[in-house]
Symmetry: C2
Subunit: 441 residues, 2 copies
């Protein structure tokens, strides 16, 4: 134990703190890789879902081979993810019980895919059921990315991971929009429930992509904004209008079906490109953080070696301690220069604490975005299960209350979660759920 | 590796999740012990601070022996804490870099105590400086408890730890109130700045003890409420009124000095009894959680042994997967019975995920209270350093804005932290800080 040669327990703890930073960044780098692999699997499943929908909607006439090729691609992406999951069984990977349980849940879903595929092959389920099956598995994968991002505590990386999560989720809503719209155009029929679903998916996409923009750095944000100006986006908007403006139960022109699939796929491919670019940025950011943390450890070791032969705390240091300790907030909260220049253990520990504290502030925005998502999802879930609302009706109810009462959506969602059981029983009895439609996915 | 005999990777991950729960509770139990030891050290330092104040204010005439006895008590409490810190140097203790750096900072403060004590002995510093010195070290210890509580993610324990933190902090404010009041009565002089400080300490105590009440269970809350009705509380309130209602620079009756010290000490002893009772509750809650987690692991292992020879996912299970996965929220969020009764891997994983998810909801309130404390402390710190306000003026500014604009204190604090640098420069120039007094601690 070379550490025992250090001047004091405080010096040893200061070095241990540095090492813990490096450990945290390394674990995060592993989580980033996993999130990337899950994103790739989601993309493969989305492609397979699209092809399977056309296969089923065409009565097995179209996309028969394409579907098989995409299923093969999904299986390959799946095996990468499975291999990564294996490594998380061992302790010390920093994965929480919640993450491990979600991984187990995800694996069961992937096991069930076998059966789903053979039913699609035999065409013994409807296209709507097929979309719902794929979407359920993808939802579990997205949730897993959420929990991987939630555990991240490294500035510069956590924000990008929040952006990544919201991009993946926005892309999944784009994928569902493509599937639902394709089925409507193919069937030539539109219903109000389906229109509401499409509208909901469009709004949800925009919200998620907005959060992506808020947390990603400028080059990627500009890339996204530039793509919004391309002609494909305008074509998509026109077809969306056709779909949403159609009178309920009016006939839809089945001819639009291919055009719809094409412009939606273009949009999804574009989001996929963004995802790949963001994954690269994430890997770079992790590597940079590891490098920085290693340099900091190296510098601290140098300072402490230099201090080894000095008395632990001389007179000047005591004065300086109370001087530093009497600064606003009493405990280190204010940065006073880079730790690399510290020349005493006191300065080193103070600047280290101050830096870690300011990192926490940086992380607050990322944590807030994740918290907001979680609370709103949970409030939606409560409305869906208690008042038998569809997802879109539940979200609209939260949104309407937020606008009517001029309160933040987050506050309304929190208030919803705090409602006692009786309140829901009353609401359900009073027929407040009258506008809730039977669930249509 | 006996796990390899399990039916599937999903089963292995489900068991790993159970084990991770046990690890998390065990680590938390260690943190609870540490928080308790820190609370004991804080109490010993508070007693030494009180005795030292009287020693200095009496020109070395009084409490000379008492002070030495209390210093000895503080040294003993300190050595227990130091021994515990040592264990955290090794990895795998679940302590973050921030906690380790704060431990190092705390140790430097305790090293500096040696010098502080010898200056008190020689009476080469003022009683106000002495109080500030002790208070700075105690503030670091309280901050450490905050970070230990912040990392706790176990329902039933986290809430109690939040209660513990706020009780310790309220008790420290009671300690500072005793010290400041004793000095004022002893000097026979009162100033507006000191009255503001006393008022601030009273309000801060009430806020913290309110949070303690919100998070503690009924028996302890009732104990606290009963104590509020004792005659000592009324006597304290009368003396507080004498102190706060005195005209600035009016003479105070030095005769009240002993009575003040006595009723304040009674209150602090009562808070200390509450702290001991709460520490016992915390230990019980940890032991119960460990027991529960071990039982759950045992049950899961039994289920999985039973499943070993069955096919991993039969037809019925696939139907059930999509049935469960299509419930509101798609991913397990709803509890459907105790995990002990699960008879299939699917049910086991689903109920495990659902239980972990509902635990997260339970933790939200505790996390919110800690987040609120952090943001308000940070906003206060920013106002203190940028506008050179005292702690009490900074808090009052936040509170006034909150009332004037009818916004939550938390929102005002968040908005303050989001202000750009120029805004503070303008505010400072416009003399908006005109009512800020020079810092008086």
């Amino acid at each position: 134990m070379p550490d025992r040669a250090l001047p004091s327990p405080a010096a040893r703890l200061a070095l241990a703190a540095r090492r813990r930073e490096i450990d945290a960044v390394r674990l995060l780098a592993g989580r980033v890789e996993l999130a990337e692999a899950i994103g790739t699997l989601i993309h493969a499943l989305q492609r397979e879902r699209g092809a399977s929908t056309i296969y089923l909607a065409s009565g097995g006439q179209r996309f028969s081979d394409v579907r098989l090729a995409m299923a093969e691609g999904a299986r390959q992406a799946e095996s990468s993810v499975r291999a990564m999951f294996d490594a998380y069984e061992a302790p010390g990977q920093g994965a929480s019980a919640r993450v491990l349980a979600l991984m187990a849940w995800t694996l069961l879903g992937l096991d069930a895919m076998q059966d789903l595929r053979s039913r699609i092959e035999r065409r013994t389920l409807s296209a709507h059921e097929e979309v719902a099956g794929f979407s359920a598995i993808i939802a579990g994968l997205v949730e897993l990315i959420y929990h991987l991002a939630d555990a991240a505590q490294v500035p510069g990386v956590s924000s990008l991971l929040v952006a990544f999560l919201h991009l993946v989720q926005g892309k999944e809503e784009a994928g569902q929009e493509r599937a639902v719209g394709a089925l409507l155009f193919a069937s030539g029929q539109c219903s109000e429930a389906h229109q509401q679903r499409i509208n909901h998916l469009i709004e949800a996409q925009e919200r998620n992509l907005q959060v992506f923009c808020d947390f990603v750095d400028a080059p990627l944000r500009e890339k996204w904004e530039a793509q919004q100006l391309l002609p494909g986006t305008a074509r998509l908007e026109r077809l969306r209008r056709t779909l949403c403006a159609a009178r309920a139960d009016a006939a839809l022109d089945a001819q639009h079906s291919d055009a719809w699939f094409e412009v939606c796929s273009e949009r999804i491919d574009m989001l996929w490109e963004l995802e790949l670019a963001l994954a690269r940025r994430l890997r770079e950011a992790c590597a940079e953080q590891v490098r920085q943390a290693e340099q900091d450890l190296h510098d601290s070791e140098a300072v402490l070696r230099h201090l080894r032969d000095r008395p632990p705390l001389h007179q000047h240091a005591v004065e300086r301690y109370f001087d530093l300790a009497s600064q606003p907030g009493a405990v280190p909260e204010v940065i006073d220069g880079s730790s690399g220049q510290s020349t005493s253990l006191l300065e080193l520990v103070h600047s280290q604490s101050a830096r870690l504290s300011s990192m926490e502030s940086e992380l607050d925005a990322a944590r807030r975005a994740l918290h907001e998502r979680k609370v709103i999802e949970r409030a939606k879930g409560v409305l869906m299960s208690r008042l038998r609302m569809t997802e879109e009706a539940a979200f609209r109810a939260l949104q309407k209350t937020s606008m009517d009462q001029n309160r933040r959506l987050l506050d309304v969602a929190e208030a919803t979660l705090a409602l006692p059981d009786q309140a829901f029983q009353q609401l359900a009895q009073q027929g407040a759920a009258a506008d809730a439609k039977p669930r249509s996915r």
